[in-house]
């Protein structure tokens, strides 16, 4: 799994690629924790290059969202497609997360 972060005017864009599972999710957790503890509150996660997400990965996303909510922050998901999209739907993520078609749309919604 590869994780890249980029600071935009109003949010941090987190790009994940490969797989988010029990092996790779701890790395995701670490990167996010560091940013959140550093005071960042607004995130857009770009799922375009993510091929697969397991229960551990989903859990990681839920944990991050709860953390952010506690600090009055927010996160939006962009480019969720394919099997990842199916899994999101089965898990009910659609009713609790903001999911956008693109990073641009997500950033616009954060203004």
């Amino acid at each position: 799994m590869d994780i890249q972060t980029k600071k935009e005017a109003n949010a941090i864009i987190v790009t994940v690629s490969g797989k988010l599972d029990a092996v790779t999710t701890p790395e995701y957790d670490n990167v996010l924790n560091e940013l959140i503890n550093g005071g960042e509150t607004t995130f857009v996660v770009d799922f375009d290059a993510l091929d697969y997400i397991s229960s551990a990965g989903l859990r990681g996303l839920l944990v991050m969202a709860k953390q952010l909510k506690g600090k009055g922050g927010q996160v939006r998901f962009a480019n969720v497609k394919g099997t990842v999209k199916e899994v999101f739907e089965i898990s009910g993520f659609g009713s609790i997360f903001n999911i956008d078609d693109s990073v641009v749309t997500a950033l616009a919604a954060l203004v």
Binding site: A22, S54, A56, R59, S91, G92
Partner: protein, 309 residues
């Protein structure tokens, strides 16, 4: 064939599942550890993955419920504000309407304020519920609203009315009833508006109702209305002294008035009259507002209870 090692992991997983089923999620991390493909036998990985998905599912549902609850609370607060504002508007309009009618046949609305105030005290003394008191208040304030439909020639005639002219005046109760029945919030004032000229012995109008067939609020109000007419100044007469007025009315207890209600009225009348009869309109308005405050929970735009000081 399960190896001894596999069996240990399996029992570990069962322990964690039992803990979670009792609400203890401390060791859930270990469960997700077991989903690592290749690190553990596939049967265990698959089972752990299924269980992990189940937990994610439940967590997501929980969060959704929390979101819905927050939304509901917000909507509820907004609704309470709207209801408060609506009540404000209704009560405000009640006064506007009553005062508008008063302008037709008298220059002041003192009468409306006095009779409404007296009605509240008599109603309370009779043990009326809050809902009933609200109806009584509305009816008292708007009792003569039907007069708007009566022509000036008759309504403002200085001399005595002929029989046909009196018949026209009598229709004010029907007109009044028509007017208020069209608005749900006012509809419960109909008892007073329509029947405040009925007499206990059945000789009143419009329907010649007798005794307990006359709605309670109308029986209450009839006493107050006549009392105020007798004891206040009118263009054609001076006020009658309190004791004389009470005697005149006592003679009619049983014929015009409900005798039981009259007794209760008689007990509290002197004190109340002494206080109220001296007041001019501004004070009467204040008194009524503060009384109505108890029955109509009026709130201002910030959701705070209306303060008329």
């Amino acid at each position: 064939m399960i190896s001894k090692h596999d069996y240990t992991i399996f029992t570990q997983m069962i322990t964690i599942m039992n803990e979670v089923s009792m609400g203890d999620t401390t060791n859930v991390g270990m469960l997700y550890e077991l989903t690592k493909e290749g690190a553990y036998p596939p049967e265990i990985v698959n089972l752990a993955e299924s269980f992990g998905m189940m937990l994610v599912n439940i967590d997501a549902k929980q969060q959704h419920l929390e979101l819905l609850l927050e939304d509901l609370k917000e909507k509820n607060s907004a609704l309470e504000l709207v209801t408060g504002n609506l009540m404000n508007a209704n009560v405000g309009m009640l006064e506007v309407l009553g005062n508008a009618i008063a302008k037709r046949d008298s220059d002041t609305s003192d009468h409306n304020y006095r009779v409404t105030t007296h009605s509240i005290y008599l109603g309370k003394a009779l043990g009326l519920s809050k809902t009933d008191l609200c109806s009584l208040i509305k009816g008292a304030f708007l009792h003569d609203i039907g007069k708007i439909a009566i022509s000036d020639a008759i309504l403002l005639k200085p001399g005595k009315l002929t029989a046909p002219e009196f018949d026209v005046i009598k229709t004010h109760v029907n007109h009044g009833s028509d007017i208020i029945r069209s608005y749900p919030w006012l509809a419960d004032a109909a008892d007073v508006v329509l029947h405040h000229h009925e007499k206990y012995n059945g000789n009143g109008y419009p329907s010649g109702l007798k005794g307990d067939h006359i709605p309670l609020h109308a029986r209450i109000f009839a006493i107050i209305d006549v009392f105020d007419a007798l004891t206040s100044k009118r263009p054609y007469k001076e006020p009658i002294p309190f004791d004389t007025a009470l005697q005149i009315m006592a003679d009619d207890a049983g014929s015009h008035f409900d005798p039981e209600i009259f007794e209760v009225f008689r007990k509290g009348a002197r004190e109340l009259h002494e206080v109220i009869s001296g007041f001019k309109e501004p004070e009467l308005v204040k008194i009524l507002h503060s009384l109505m405050h108890d029955y109509f929970e009026t709130v201002n735009n910030n959701g705070q209870v209306r303060d008329d000081s």
